[in-house]
Symmetry: C3
């Protein structure tokens, strides 16, 4: 049983969903582990992770729009307003989605459904660089 | 350390919560691993996973009802409408709940609370066959 | 590869977020595993887990408030009312957040972002003692 650690950096340019499936798969391809668990953690609380449909971009549009309406950028709704009108909604959207994925690798292939992609969900308005910890454990 | 992979298929007949705890436990019973991690991934983005109370069926009714009101089946709310009025709400409900569970096995027993059950949460109206990847790693 | 199991008990005194990061780190410090996966499961369905910002307490206030408005304690909204007005909202809030965390340990250190803390999110009004299963697998 071996373990490998890695970080993927993702540059975001405002709110939305950023597909990083290919970056993760490309890293797995370079490892010597054929079967194992891949644990991905996002090291931030104002951006999050979702596994979603990678076919129709309208799905990503509607998702972003749904969360914007559910947790509006309106300072009157929140006490925590010092970091900008998008910060508290970002924490809420983060709590409603995922901080981490635990995925399985079988014969060097990530187990995902045909239409599933791995997305970073950016909730802040400004440009950011986000860090995703990757930890692979297996044989 | 050993690893075993398996798929459980669940037939769904419309929206609601389907308990698959017994199927998972029965599969664990057949394995030679006493202690380890069980990673369960649903290979779809219009159905999801929740761990919920298995005592009062009214809890499942209220849960389904809550999510229906939160993400209504109303085409006017969404751009992605080509796959039916239930599809975009399904993706939203999926983002709000889980795509995967990571559970612990100790002395052949799944670590779960007394009232916890494992549920597939179907968000589509039509009959479906859903695939749950099971990956057990341990001794 | 070794495995260790442990339970952390947390006393809660009404709804809110309880930081247990230090308890988890202190337990990791006592183990002989340097690198591995830590799987934390909450054995209840009316309290849940969130990774959130540990800097400004207003974030925790706003989070609690958001979830209270999203799933109000109003018996008229639910069929499951026999366990109190806070019970069905508790199950809903639990479904919207996490039942478990899967975290990575590298060189004896929990991989977390600078501002990330591990929180138990209590959704019941009465005092409770909550159990968090900890399972560490690694070298």
């Amino acid at each position: 049983m071996q373990q490998v650690f890695h970080e993927i950096k993702i540059s975001t340019n405002g709110q939305g969903l950023y597909d990083f499936t290919d970056q993760t798969i490309s890293w797995i391809d370079d490892q010597k582990i054929n079967n194992g668990i891949l644990n991905i953690n996002i090291l931030h609380t104002s951006a999050s992770l979702v596994i979603q449909e990678n076919a129709d971009p309208d799905v990503l549009y509607d998702l972003k729009n749904f969360f914007d309406k559910l947790a509006p950028m309106d300072n009157k709704l929140y006490k925590h307003t010092t970091e900008g009108k998008d910060d508290m909604p970002a924490h809420i959207k983060s709590a409603l989605t995922n901080n981490h994925f635990t995925l399985s690798i079988k014969n060097k292939k990530l187990i995902l459904g045909t239409w599933q992609g791995l997305y970073l969900f950016e909730h802040r308005l400004e440009k950011k660089i986000r860090t995703l910890s990757h930890h692979l454990i297996g044989d």
